[in-house]
Symmetry: C2
Subunit: 164 residues, 2 copies
């Protein structure tokens, strides 16, 4: 088996729309309406470029996008960014791909002037691997909004301090 | 002096765009770019109606809009709403108008199925009257994101439980 050597791409290509859906579907984590939202962010990026406020990183294994992130500056803040999406194709799980693309994303955010990266997720037990991912990559749990998504479904707000 | 008798209006009118600016400017609380955002929400409402996700309440003194709120459902949640804006013209401060329009807004949110109403604001001392307003109207401080807006400028997340 050849070792995994990824490279990164920052400009979107038309084929990424399908890659995004395949990546997110493969994880088994997302509802259909959430995947549609992810596609809409791609469409916004395609239509408006940087002014969409959505930026992408794709981790490429050869010419195949196997992981991606989508981030952007938070309006009315000076140095806060949202990590809207981060996902890795199930075929590539357990290889540290998520951590690699996050590291690359952090670099991009920092270079754009971002100092804090926020990630929001559900507090449900089903998301324990997500919580573990954020904890293990330097995020702190900055807030919890009780019953935000639904009764018994809190929103967790994680924050990564990129200056540390 | 005649007593203040307000009535409410929920459909926007073209003249509200100027009323919104006058109300927000009169408070002395908002930056120009924030007022522009408030106008953009009005424009979205005008262009797309309910599907904009922005709903308005205007408190009318005769035919003059003296206070307004803008709220809407939070995407991907079942019963959480954002209170995007609430403001009362400086000429009408200290008369309980803010509390009245909030009460009316809460009723509208509840009737649409909302159970939690979120209000976000800066933690800076300058906003002490805002914090006091939320505390005195039943909101709880649900979270604080440190340095969110800028260094030394936290975001406070208030929540009102409409089922209580």
């Amino acid at each position: 088996m050849r070792p995994l050597s990824l490279h990164y791409r920052y400009e979107i290509e038309d084929s990424d729309r399908i890659a995004i859906r395949e990546i997110l579907e493969s994880t088994g984590f997302f509802y259909e309406f959430e995947i549609v939202i992810a596609e809409e962010l791609f469409d916004e990026r395609k239509a408006k470029g940087d002014s969409s406020g959505y930026f992408f990183v794709f981790a490429m294994d050869g010419d195949k996008a196997v992981s991606y992130s989508c981030y952007g500056p938070i309006a009315c803040t000076r140095q806060s960014y949202d990590l809207f999406w981060i996902g890795t194709h199930a075929d590539y799980r357990g290889k540290g791909v998520g951590k690699q693309i996050l590291k690359e994303t952090n670099k991009q955010v920092f270079d754009r002037g971002g100092r804090y990266l926020y990630a929001e997720t559900s507090g449900r037990d089903q998301y324990a691997p997500t919580h573990q991912f954020y904890k293990s990559t330097g995020f702190d749990l900055e807030g919890r909004l009780r019953d935000f998504y639904d009764t018994g479904d809190d929103k967790l707000i994680y924050r990564l301090d990129l200056t540390k």
